[in-house]
Symmetry: C2
Subunit: 100 residues, 2 copies
């Protein structure tokens, strides 16, 4: 995945009022997978509501297009208004990788 | 943190034989914080033993130095022999970021 891009989404979820969250989160992953340039996604959330989701994309343009996707825009808005206390997004270029 | 570097460590922990894991994981975070170029760390692990830890560093050289730290080398070896089924490491350059 060298020279591909990673979007690191770190979030703290609200304690309550999570109606619609699980369905939307699931649907967004499925929708992301169908987008041009999508490579992979990994997502972990712990019992304290702290989560990290990383999606991987071929180009910065693919990331911009996904950010502007209409259904994704609606989900982003609900994330801000209802589901997340806070989040951070970082867009990174992959320089090297290895695995075990 | 633009132009800094992120080390994305995605791992699946073994189901058993985790003796020493928690102490070492805690100590490695504390030790990393004292290294030259260290900026930040965030870490999440879910109930299935899937985890993502991301550490942030000023330069690639800082990351190399941390990888070669003697105590860290011992921990890496135990990680491979005892604690992890598998892991992936990606080193990325941060191109942009925003938060909510």
């Amino acid at each position: 995945m060298k020279n591909a891009y990673a979007v690191i989404f770190s979030s703290e979820r609200n304690d309550n009022d999570l109606s619609g969250y699980e369905e939307t989160a699931y649907h967004m992953v499925e929708l992301a997978k169908t987008q041009k340039g999508f490579l992979d996604i990994e997502s972990v959330r712990d019992n304290n509501g702290i989560g990290i989701t990383i999606s991987y994309w071929e180009t910065l343009e693919d990331i911009q297009n996904w950010k502007k996707n209409e259904e994704h825009l609606v989900a982003q808005q609900r994330g801000k208004s209802d589901w997340y206390k806070s989040f951070k997004v970082k867009i990174c270029k992959i320089e090297r990788e290895y695995e075990f």
